[in-house]
Amino acid sequence: MRSFLSMFAKSPFKPLKSHMDKVRACVEQVKPLFDALDKKDYDSVQKISELIVKLEHEADIIKDNIRIHMRQSMFLPVDKKDFMRLLSAQDDIADAVEDLAVLLRIKNLDTPDEIRFSLKELVAHIVETAHMGCDLISELEALLEASFGGAEAEKVEKATQELGTAEWEADRKQFALAKKLFSLGDDLAAADLLLWNEVIKKLGAVADKTEQIGKTLRMFLSQ
């Protein structure tokens, strides 16, 4: 296309949203994964885990595409570094979920009764937190329309604060669960203890990375 109209390049915010859709699809598999584990349905654990790995890979392809197309001459309404940071945060969520899926496939884990309830609670909370992060990305389109200001910005600002609270709550739940796990002492095989500890840490990581999305969006607003 000739003339000044070639200034209108393809928006990187649309693929960013597509990437987040894949991340959301990963996150949506976390609850079924733990449900299957709880029921000792290890075939399902295997299947869901493979699905997560596949979704994470698809997200990676989108991410790489965004990185390739981010040219020097492109001008964004936000700092390019912040934009890439947002993409990385989204990617880290998918990575953490993938790690979880792989951990649960190392051996057929048994869920001890003592942590069953707290684990369920933590998983539910983590999934909810991750969804809050995904919803924030869905606001990006409206945020662009409002030029990162006004009522829409206030709405997003509030949502990032809620996300921060949710992450804090996740930390608390994670700590409580870890305490319960280690109070089991010698009742749990060392291998299981080690693996469960990793799983709990990864669950916490999902919330941590989600909070990073909120932080980066606040950077968008403050420019």
Binding site: S3, L5, S6, F8, M74, L144, G149, A151, K155
Partner: protein, 416 residues
Amino acid sequence: MDLDTFLLSFAVIACIYMACNIGANDVANAMGTSVGSKSLTFRQAILIAAVAEFVGAFFVGGEVSDTIRKGMLDPLMFEAVPYHLVYGMISALVAAALWLHIASYLGWPVSTTHSIVGGVVGFGVIAGGMDVINWGKIGMVVLSWVVSPVMGGLFAFLLFKFISKAVFGKRTPLIYAKNLLPYMVFFVFVILTNAMVYKGLKNLHMDLSFTRALVISLMVGALTFIITKYLARKIPYNPSWDLKKQFHETENVFKYLQILTAFYVAFAHGSNDVANAVGPLAAVVAILKDGQVHMNVPMPTWILGLGGGFIVFGLMVWGAKVMATIGEKITELTPSRGFAATFGAATVVLICSKMGLPISTTHTLVGSVIGVGLARGLPTLNLGIIRMIAISWISTIPFTAVISMLCFKIFLVFLP
């Protein structure tokens, strides 16, 4: 066929060639944002462009023509050899049109204005030496090429900042957009009408003073204000709509404004750029009339009509092809952004036309789009175009100047 008839025919054909190139080259610039944001289909855009370009060229085109004809070189230096000025003006037209043709083919964002300026300077230097060129005026013209994108950018930046604060920043953007609409329409119509009737109706022998023109414009503006106010009430609004839905509906309101601005920018373009084709022809016709060089010649109405007519012809025949692909290629532009960018650019172009400054519509639009981008209005911009513009700035004038010199030399070899 005697020499005069031959020269006149040659000049008319060169003018037609140039006008067609202007239409083909620039219509996408004028209407691109409207088609890109889906405010207009490409057929509607062509229709609006055709009408607006012609009206702008016919009513306001005269002023810039004077600058092309006599602003950049002193016609009186040719008093002893009036026919050299005829050859020269034809050479300038041929050189500029050729360059536009080549640039269109290569897809370079060149300026029709810069092309003709290069052509005039080129033959001027050969025919009369360095002294014949009015370097002060050339300096102003070149300065306006830098100033106009900056002004376009500033206008568009401020306008968009205002829109995003006054409309998109609100909890009920749609209500604010509906309230703002009549004022915007008023503003556009006052400027448009004023540009058209103040000095513009000379061709129809209705020369109005500035005050009378202003009164007429304000009356037209007030009338459109009342009509828009009435129509705006009919735009549906539901308090239960969330912000996203309201943003969507608000953009639909801006579609109306953008259609208006599309007319505005095509009008401004016609008013500024028709001169590039008809300015040299007017000079030729004046000399051939009595074989003498005159300082002040009236711009014959038929010449403005011819220029406007063939700009329209060019845009319909060749420009349409370019337009047809725009809608699919630009997907990131919403009507509010398109409105801010085109309104900013068109205002600057029109002001410059009124001041007799030949500026580049294309480059002013580049400036105004960057202005909207700086106001955080666009998801992304490809600034690689700035390099292309720099190249076209540097290459246009030398190329057209040299071609114009060559044509002029050829004339001198074959004709007395």
